[in-house]
Amino acid sequence: MNFSFLGSYYTFFLQGAYVTVLLAIISVIAGTILGVLLTLMRRSKIQAVRWISIAYVEFIRGTPLLAQVYLVYVGLPMLTQLNIPDFATGAIALTIHASAYISETMRSGIEAVPYGQAEAARSLGMNSRRTMLDIILPQAFKNILPALGNQFIGNIKDSSLVSVIGISELMYETTTVRGTTALGLEPIIVCSLIYLVLTLTLTRLLTFVERRLKSSDHR
């Protein structure tokens, strides 16, 4: 095996890894916001709103990410009549994908907050919206922080699929390097190792943060 190509091509990998991490960060943050919204919709008093949320989540969880990427890539410009940049398209697809899973996580995070919390808030005259925002959601977030960390790691791996629509993240750059160097295996090995370093580092970091959270636990 020959890794001498790295000398002249390492910037491709660095650039790709940067875009990969960026996609993961954007999609986990935006996905969380959208996920919370879906969870609240799921708890709405209006049945139609609940159905929309359920249908959305079921659709996303029941179809492959690759299909969703193409759907957004082709469907979104048709629907909005806008020229959406490729990077945004990829970020939107990943966000939509992550939000469905995050909303399910959020739901269990909310259910894990003792019922007495809502009752105490309501008995103080707080309305249901205020109770949810000020009392339930902050506690639910803390409950699901570890799960959100895992979602972030998942998003890093998932983002490799948006290479199919030409976004120059790590996988796309790897393909480019394979093409120009005519090396089949070596660039893939490098790419895999970079993914591994990213996810392992984040896993460790997450364990650390979790332990810190536990020791400073306010409960």
Binding site: G116, Q117, E119, S123, L124, G125, I135, H218, R219
Partner: protein, 241 residues
């Protein structure tokens, strides 16, 4: 004044409150006793509509709170509630627990709310705990904070649902003392408790409930020394020995 008329509550087909009628006058301390499952908590929770009664009316200061146009949140604002399990907000400090609703619901200025909060903390003897998180406090301390939190809304009446039942024995009196002080100040209170000595001391009136009904209602002295009904006698003989 709170007047309860022909109040019924069922969960599915299970009838928990069966034609409750009672009146709580301003400044009065009413103690509710009765066996577990007799509907004491449900009655209390109906009073601030944490449970929706199946039938009947609850009239507070001349207003029927069960009519549709009533703002439930405003009713609850004026009716403090203290739970068996304290239910402090774990992600907020003591002073934040106390000030949150006054600031967010009553739109008090933060400074004013905090001054009031500190005054209430002094009253329950926990001024030095203002920046502590609930987890770091004992059960007795948490319950005293919960009382302060309810008082911060300046309620017209307070509801207590077995406020000392989740406490270790040595912490019961510190909580009861706070409630006794409130009674002296003339706070209108409805208290569900198993502390009979306390009931005798602070109660203006004692209500005995069994099977979703008010079986007997009397002054503490008459209730404890000369119970009229067999069910009351039976219950008291069990609980007093």
């Amino acid at each position: 004044m709170i007047t309860v008329k022909h109040l019924y509550k069922s969960f599915n087909s299970h009838e928990v409150l069966n034609n409750i009628n009672c009146t709580i006058h301003d400044g009065e301390v009413v103690v509710i006793i009765g066996p577990s499952g007799s509907g004491k908590s449900t009655l209390l929770r109906c009073l601030n509509l944490l449970e929706t009664p199946t039938q009947g009316s609850i009239i507070i200061d001349g207003q029927d709170i069960m009519t549709r146009k009533i703002n439930i949140d405003q009713v609850r604002e004026k009716m403090g509630m203290v739970f068996q399990q304290f239910n402090l907000f774990p992600h907020k400090t003591v002073i934040q627990n106390i000030c949150h609703a006054p600031i967010r619901v009553r739109k008090m200025k933060k400074y004013d709310a905090e001054q009031q909060g500190l005054e209430l903390l002094r009253k329950v003897g926990l001024r030095d705990k203002k920046d502590a998180y609930p987890i770091t406090l004992s059960g007795g301390q948490q319950q005293r904070i919960a009382i302060a939190r309810a008082l911060a809304m300046q309620p017209n009446a307070m509801l207590f649902d077995e406020p000392t039942s989740a406490l270790d024995p040595e912490m019961v009196s510190e909580v009861l003392n706070v409630i006794k002080d409130l009674a002296k100040e003339g706070m209108t209170m409805v208290i569900v408790t198993h502390e009979m000595g306390f009931a005798k001391e602070v109660g203006d009136r004692v209500i005995f409930m069994d099977g979703g009904q008010i079986v007997e209602e009397n002054t503490p002295d008459a209730m404890f020394n000369h119970p009229q009904h067999a069910r009351t006698q039976n219950f008291l003989s069990k609980i007093l020995h």
